[in-house]
């Protein structure tokens, strides 16, 4: 039988994390293997070709397409500044002055091409610099020539379930004292500027707006509402491909939409790492090539405990006693332990016939749930 369990999100105190930092197109790598880098260190640079502007020289001078090249004052490859003469038609005889004409460049840039079929001239603006930063504090372990690097670090690593906003970094700061408390606006203070705030069960639009206003760089919360997400983005998010939103901060939710207590392990781990600098990214892509939002808090040498990362291999499936979270109604968000796997297919209330397991919830009640509706929690 195929394995249908949703592998749990990683929540681990210590893991070796390696990040590939690659340019969108080829360029220069600025660091070498063994270099120690900070999150903001530039590791690779390139130049993105500038935007193209098309000038209809044929039409503007009233000439044939194949004549454009001979009327060009600036030839392909030459630089040009805005309002400089690009092409000019001079009459052979002075009294035919009305036949003269000039075409000025609308931009600063370079003449790229003269098309003798269409009579159009392509101008390209100066290239735009593109930089790639290390994103995490660590050591460069590999240089991919002309493309980028790999950076490795030992860190506390927590994956969220969904996020918005791109990469950023800041100091982890607890804004609530318990995983079941909502992060309210009044908990957010001016001294939180540049910080990553950790909330509990929920964060509403009021708190998010206040955080943006005060310069908070990130919010970590168990849940939020889709209604607030829509208000924040200004549109109804249809497909979970995020990370490019320009919100002024990154938001990572660890459990799901709605009010749900944050898993104790996640909350306690964040509390333990309070005061340390974390790199976070809200980028989420729930399609081929799943990307989940992440919190990476590098550990210093002294903090390395020699503890290995707890491993949960989805291929092994779940077994009795494993901690799980219910990820669909009823009992959505509740935590429990696997009491047993029931081998036979069972018919649910919806009449769907599925493989199930029995879970003992935190309050002691036993509950039959489709195996596809639980998530393994790393212990």
């Amino acid at each position: 039988m195929a394995h249908a369990y949703t592998p749990g999100l990683r929540v681990t105190r210590q893991a070796a994390i390696e990040k590939e930092r690659i340019l969108p197109l080829k360029g220069n790598v600025e660091v070498k293997v063994g270099d120690k880098v900070k999150a903001d260190t530039i590791v690779a640079k390139t130049e993105l070709p500038g935007d193209v502007t098309i000038v209809n020289v044929m039409g503007l001078l009233g000439i044939e397409a194949n004549e454009v090249a001979e009327y060009m004052i600036k030839k392909p490859g030459e630089k040009i500044v805005k309002d400089e003469i690009l092409a000019e038609a001079k009459p052979l005889l002075p009294f035919l002055k009305f036949m003269s004409g000039k075409v000025k460049s609308p931009i600063d840039g370079t003449v790229e091409k003269v098309n003798d079929i269409t009579g159009q001239v392509y101008l390209r603006e100066p290239p735009q610099p593109v930089i790639v930063r290390a994103y995490i504090e660590g050591v460069v372990t590999e240089v991919i020539p002309l493309e980028g690097v790999k950076v490795k670090t030992n860190a506390t690593f927590i994956q969220g379930i969904f996020g918005v906003g791109g990469e950023t970094n800041g100091i982890i700061t607890m804004a609530v004292v318990s995983p079941s408390i909502e992060l309210k606006p009044e908990f957010i203070k001016p001294e939180h500027k540049g910080k990553i705030l950790v909330g509990g069960s929920y964060v509403g639009i009021g708190a998010i707006r206040k955080a943006i206003e005060l310069g908070v760089v990130g919010i970590i919360s168990a849940g939020m509402s889709d209604h607030d997400l829509k208000e924040l983005l200004g549109y109804d998010l249809g497909v979970a491909i995020t990370g490019h939103e320009d919100l002024g901060l990154a938001i990572i939710i660890t459990e799901g939409f709605g009010r749900i207590d944050m898993a104790n392990r996640t909350f306690n781990l964040l509390k333990e790492r309070e005061g340390f600098r974390a790199s976070i990214s809200g980028a989420t892509q729930i399609r081929a090539g799943v990307i989940r939002p992440e919190i990476i808090i590098p550990l210093s040498k002294e903090e390395l405990a020699g503890e290995n990362e707890a491993k949960v291999d989805a291929k092994d499936g779940v077994k009795g006693g494993d901690p799980v979270r219910i990820i669909r109604e009823p009992n959505f968000g509740k935590l429990g332990k696997v009491k047993g796997l029931i081998p036979d297919l069972m018919v649910m209330e919806s009449e769907t016939k599925v493989r199930v397991m029995e879970v003992t919830l935190a309050d002691g009640t036993d509950f039959i749930v489709p195996r596809a509706n639980v998530e393994i929690i790393e212990d």
């Binding site: 039988m1 091409k113 269409t118 392509y122 509706n373």
Partner: protein, 615 residues
């Protein structure tokens, strides 16, 4: 080595590498006929940590080994040809893993060459990321910016009739060069571009684009204004899909070596089987495949004795990854009109988003199933609307349309999809194939597509249409036999007049004369739907019969308002639906009345018996 349609072919192994699951089926020749015997599935392994599609393929095949007791694998190799109880004669596969085939198309005039290019790309199984045209109301620099942003697997460039204007297609080519788009997979390989425009422009296009891109020329997709010729471009797209795109995806080089026929994009294979069946039976067919991320609609309609095949893909309408987008596009009100219970807006929004972020979960509660099937109706409805707007004129080389018709495309829009002439509607995809009750699948199809007149309905039993599509390229008989015997499950026949009237008034009278000798006669009131169970004969074939529907003067069954029509009855696992709810479907305005109406409809189909609507 087996020849095409080789009668000695006995054991066929086929896989479909989907974006989340790889599905394997085994087809065996039992006696003189081909039957699908076993099925296995495993998670697709294109992504990290495996990054090798063949791992998932091997896992799905090993599941078939477990179930069938037949050995197919020797280490990490598929044993072929078959020998006694081991191996298979051929192995074939389709793929939509890693996002399938993502293309951008460009033409000169949006309604003419660009639209032809779009249809050619869709017909080849691609997701079309954007359609560019000189008159697409974008400025050149905006177009260049857009090309640059997209990272397509391939570009199809069309434009200009043969011997006609060259300037605009050359200009479009220059804009592509200026944008210098990067392929989605692989940083250093050349992006494939197919030029299927004015043949006179080929030398210039070669000069301008040849160095930067992997440029291929095919015959003009629109050689004259009256003629559309997508076939060569479509074939070339599929060739390049395997040569370039698949070759970049992890593990595909190995998979390509294993297969006995080229790997097809999944939607192209589904389209092929639908088309084959429609041509063989001489009927008009609509097929739909609703997946987690996308919904594909296929249609084959005969117009003036010429079959016209169309495919559309709604890239962001689906039941898991894209479920939130279904709500965003349809609107919450439209989704909830299919539920006869109340739920807070915030609650439903959060539930749908939670399904999006954890796409593999399944509805445990009945209310959750009802919401999910409501979302499916809306996804299907929206996908079908998109299909109708695109299916406006794909014609083969043999058939031409005059210039007047060509210009009519914009206004006519839906001219090719005539629901009154539809013979068969086939549903596929998890929500259809795995609905707890087949009557739920039948209701979803009727509610979303609203067939008119007399229409037969069916579902794909376990989602094997892609496998059978690629099989048609190797063994037509095997594909057809398995399609008829194991793939398609006939649900029944729907009788539905078109038009609108007052709720409760007499809509039509009916007389159903069954092959079994039974006769059902009666009257339907407007707003009602009724189901008469009617199944299969001793040989397992659908029972037949004749239905006479005599509509009231406001309704039309296909012969004009108020005119009686005789239609052929085919039984099925659900039966005969007498649908007097009007076309378009008419809902009660008052909420209480609407809930009562829904309960009655569901009750007629015994769709959700645990709720009030159950019998």
């Amino acid at each position: 080595m087996f020849k095409k349609n080789d009668p000695n072919l006995r054991v066929i192994l086929a896989t479909d590498c989907g974006s989340t699951t790889t599905k394997a089926i085994l087809i065996e020749k039992i006696g003189d006929e081909y039957r699908q015997t076993y099925r296995g599935e495993a998670p697709t392994t294109v992504e990290a940590p495996f990054e090798d599609v063949t791992k998932g393929v091997l896992n799905s095949i090993s599941e078939i080994e477990d179930l069938s007791g037949r050995k197919f694998l020797e280490g990490e190799q598929i044993i072929h040809p078959a020998n006694g109880d081991t191996g298979c004669d051929i192995y074939i596969s389709t793929s939509s893993a890693g996002g399938g085939l993502q293309m951008m198309v460009a033409g000169v005039v949006k309604q003419m060459t660009a639209e032809s290019a779009e249809r050619a790309a869709l017909g080849a199984g691609a997701i079309v990321m954007d359609v560019l045209a000189i008159n697409d109301k974008r400025l050149p620099h905006e177009r260049i910016e857009r090309i640059r942003q997209l990272r397509p697997d391939m570009i199809l460039l069309a434009g200009g009739t043969d011997g006609g204007d060259m300037i605009k297609v050359v200009d479009m080519g220059d804009q592509i060069v200026a944008a210098d788009p990067r392929p989605r997979l692989g940083i250093s390989y050349q992006l494939p571009i197919i030029f299927a425009g004015n043949k006179e422009a080929r030398p210039i296009i070669q000069k301008n684009l040849g160095e930067k891109f992997a440029l291929t020329m095919t015959s003009n997709i629109r050689p004259t204004l009256e003629e559309e010729n997508p076939w060569e471009a479509r074939q070339k797209i599929q060739d390049l899909f395997e040569e370039h795109v698949m070759a970049q995806a992890p593990g595909y080089n190995k998979l390509i070596e294993w297969t006995s026929a080229p790997i097809m994009p999944t939607p192209a294979a589904v389209g092929l089987i639908i088309r084959t069946i429609a041509e063989k039976e001489g009927i008009n067919v609509i097929g739909v495949d609703i997946g987690g991320a996308t919904t594909d609609v296929f249609s084959y309609f005969r117009v003036e004795n010429e079959g016209i095949f169309n495919r559309s893909v709604s890239a962001n309408l689906g039941m898991s990854y894209s479920v939130s987008n279904v709500m965003a596009e349809a609107g919450l009100e439209n989704v909830m009109r299919w539920a006869s219970f109340d739920i807070e807006e915030e609650d439903i929004r959060n539930r749908i988003k939670n399904k999006m972020i954890r796409p593999t979960t399944i509805p445990q509660l009945l209310d959750e199933l009802i919401i999910e099937q409501g979302l499916a109706r809306e996804a299907l409805r929206l996908a079908f609307e998109q299909h109708k707007s695109l299916a406006v004129g794909l014609k083969g080389i043999q058939q031409q349309r005059d210039i007047g018709d060509a210009f009519e495309q914009d206004d006519s829009g839906t001219t090719l999809i005539k629901m009154m002439e539809l013979d068969l509607l086939v549903g596929s995809g998890g929500v259809m194939s795995h609905a707890p009750r087949r009557s739920q699948s039948m209701m979803m199809l009727i509610d979303a597509f609203q067939p008119e007149g007399t229409t037969r309905l069916a579902v794909d039993s376990i989602f094997m249409m892609p496998h059978l599509g690629v099989l048609t390229t190797v063994h037509d008989k095997a594909a057809t036999e398995v399609f008829n015997k194991d793939c398609i499950i006939y649900l029944g026949t729907c009788f539905a007049p078109k038009g609108e009237m007052r709720f409760g008034d007499r809509a039509f009278t009916y007389k159903l004369e069954m092959e079994t000798g039974e006769v059902h006669e009666g009257e339907m009131k407007f707003g009602e739907i009724k189901l008469i169970p009617y199944g299969f004969n001793d040989k397992g074939l659908p029972l037949r019969g004749t239905g006479t529907i005599n509509p009231s003067r406001n309704l039309d069954m296909g012969s004009g308002k108020g005119r009686a029509v005789k239609g052929e009855i085919f039984g099925g696992v659900v039966g005969i639906a007498l649908d007097a709810r009007g076309r378009p479907l008419k809902f009660q305005k008052d909420r209480q009345e609407r809930v009562k109406q829904l309960d009655n409809w569901c009750s007629a189909f015994d769709a959700y018996p645990a709720r009030k609507g159950g019998k």
